[in-house]
């Protein structure tokens, strides 16, 4: 199945013995000239090279970030090498490469900071012994090593939870990636995708006509299935709610079953809603590449569409990092949102909407429809560690679980140090969900796979529910490597979809049977 070893899972987590350079070969494809230029990043004369004057540019950008973001300066200065983060990263646990200990990965750029921006680094650097004060020369080799290891961090921030100083590795990774893109080494996967969002409306490159055709097909599918016409409106001006959801929800399984769930909830709640062809994407890969302008431009197109369609509310579908951007930054990136109805959260998460409907008792639920499954829940890193889903502290943990428990009879959590704010990344987040990083993704999934296997063994869990398009795609791909099946990952709103009973549901289906009986 693979030409590398799949890590073993255990009953209890095992901290691996280190293997120097175990993942030094892992490096995603570099963006070509076309993608670099579409993003406004410079291109080198030859693909794979750095631009002329790269070293000066690197240091100039690092200096700019140190001045602009106080956090970056604090993160560079405060690490005392205590080691609390070393065994907290899923990529270290899965690969045993010591450079995947968050402290070591951060040090790749910290040692450049020390060499060029601190007095001891400057002095010992000139004397030829920069390593004496934890500094290092900025060489092309160092840049390539950064490219490799800053694409072995999914910006999930689990390490930051355990850091006594709160050093946020994700921000260090983002800063490094932005600098690399600006000296000619953008990553192909993310930089190929972002221009599509602006040109076509979504990461997939799904044009309006194809989206309309897909949605029409879903309406037919639901009607065939339950005999109720549930609408999937597109670009409907004057609708109350704009749903912004990851484009994977239109395209892939199990994502699409979640989308059907949202539509059924809206139908049952009797609200008017619409999707937008131009904002047919919740994801914001500007976050992954650490580029503020890019993140802002992606967010602005949601504002443009909200205005064009004249909606009163914005609701986000099941997408991890999209919710992180929306929850934390939507207002500063694309606000003020004073033209929306201020009686509702701006923006709102679909789970908050559904939970509210459940709490008010306006959804007719038959939990037994999910009795063939026993569920567990994977907290998505970006939602767990960077947001809430509701007003209260910890609602990002309680809201999804409350919804699952309201529609399923059988639910068990995975072990306590792998959920809530200690959750593990799925292994494919932060712009790493690409085939050229498959080895990293499989190995990085280890801690989650281990916890899942244990809850399967202990509690008879059959399926894991998730609320992020990346998590769903990543697990679909990696579950078979660990002896499980791809259909064991489900969308939370897929569970809602199965349990919800709409008015008129099943009535038509019964008629032909009666006719047969009487005949």
């Amino acid at each position: 199945m693979a030409d590398y070893e799949i890590p073993e899972t255990h009953e209890f987590p095992v901290i691996p013995s280190i293997m120097e350079g175990a993942m030094a070969h892992s490096s995603p494809y570099v963006a070509n000239v076309e993608f670099q230029e579409a993003m406004g990043f410079p291109s080198p004369a030859e693909p794979g090279q750095l631009i002329d004057g790269w070293k000066e540019k690197f240091l100039e950008l690092l200096e700019e970030k140190l001045g602009k973001y106080r956090s970056m300066l604090v993160f560079m200065d405060t690490c005392v090498k205590c080691g609390a983060c070393t065994d907290k990263c899923h990529y270290f646990l899965g690969t045993a490469d010591p450079k995947n200990m968050p402290v070591a990965r951060q040090d790749l750029i910290r040692q450049i900071y020390r060499r060029y921006f601190t007095l001891p680094g400057k002095i010992f650097g000139k004397l030829g012994f920069p390593g004496f004060v934890g500094a290092a020369e900025l060489t092309e080799e160092a840049v390539r090593e950064m490219y490799s290891y800053y694409h072995q961090c999914s910006e999930c921030r689990r390490c930051a939870v355990f850091c006594p100083f709160g050093i946020d590795t994700a921000e260090v990774t983002m800063a490094a990636r932005d600098i690399l893109a600006n000296i000619g080494m953008g990553q192909k996967y993310s930089n190929q995708i972002i221009p599509k969002v602006h040109k076509i409306g979504n990461n997939l490159g799904l044009p309006e006509a194809a989206l309309a055709d897909t949605l029409e097909g879903l309406e037919e599918e639901v009607e065939d299935d339950i005999g109720v016409k549930v609408r999937f409106p597109l670009d409907e001006k004057g609708a109350d709610i704009l749903l912004v959801t990851p484009s994977a929800d239109f395209f892939a399984e199990p994502h699409v079953d979640g989308l059907i769930g949202y539509a059924k909830v809206f139908h049952a709640a009797g609200v008017s809603w619409t999707l937008s062809s131009q904002a047919s994407e919740a994801a914001n890969f500007g976050l992954f590449i650490g580029n503020y302008e890019s993140m802002r431009n992606i967010a602005l197109r949601i504002r443009d569409e909200a205005k064009r369609l004249g909606v009163k509310r914005i609701i986000f579908g099941e997408c991890g990092h999209a919710w992180r951007v929306a929850y934390n930054h939507l207002n500063t990136l694309a606000g003020p949102w004073d033209f929306l109805d201020q009686n509702y959260p701006v923006p709102q998460h679909i789970l908050e909407f559904t939970k509210d409907c459940l709490d008010r008792g306006i959804l007719n639920i038959d939990k037994s429809e999910n009795d063939h499954m026993t569920l567990t829940f994977h907290d998505s890193c970006n939602i767990a560690r960077a947001s809430r889903i509701g007003e209260e502290v910890g609602s990002q943990f309680t809201t999804p679980r409350a919804v699952i428990k309201a529609v399923c009879n059988n639910f068990y959590d995975m072990s306590a140090n792998t959920i809530h704010d200690e959750t593990f990344c799925c292994g494919g987040g932060g712009g790493l969900l690409t085939d050229d990083l498959m080895e990293l993704r499989v190995k990085g999934a280890l801690p989650r796979m281990e916890a899942l296997k244990n809850v399967i063994a202990d509690n008879g869990v059959t399926h894991m529910a998730a609320i992020c398009a990346i998590c769903k795609s990543q697990f679909t791909k990696v579950l078979p490597y660990y002896g499980m099946t791809m259909d064991q990952i489900v969308s939370v709103h897929q569970l809602v979809s199965s349990a919800i009973v709409l008015d008129g549901q099943g009535e038509e289906a019964e008629e032909p049977e009666e006719a047969e009986e009487s005949a």
């Binding site: 995708i193 490159g205 055709d213 097909g217 990851p246 892939a252 791909k477």
Partner: protein, 110 residues
């Protein structure tokens, strides 16, 4: 990168997807499949042909439910599901079948 088929050389990207959609010929699909130890049967061709037709109309590969529905209609209900498609294309119909059909790789969170 490139792939040889029909005595000609076809340019591909790093991941083996055809650089120019219009270059595609059936022999390209056969050569790509052979390189992955896959022998194309009529069942594979049914999918590949549908992908090309859909792409021509919509400039994108079909979403999984669009594909399974079309397969179900054309080849019988028992085949209109992703299990059948994964049996034919174990690396995923979205990616493996698109590659053989000369379509660009679907990008994003899929």
């Amino acid at each position: 990168m490139a792939i040889e088929a029909n005595g000609k050389t076809y340019e591909t990207d790093e991941e083996g997807y055809l650089s120019n959609l219009n270059d595609w010929e059936p022999e390209v699909a056969t050569a790509m499949a052979a390189a992955e130890d896959c022998e194309l049967t009529q069942e594979h061709w049914d999918i590949i042909n549908f992908l090309r037709e859909y792409y021509e109309e919509y400039q994108i590969a079909p979403a999984v439910r669009v594909l399974t529905k079309a397969v179900g209609k054309r080849l019988g209900k028992e085949k209109g599901n992703s299990k059948y498609l994964y049996e034919l294309f174990p690396y995923g119909p979205g990616k493996q079948a698109c590659k053989y059909a000369g379509l660009p790789k679907p990008t994003g969170c899929v």
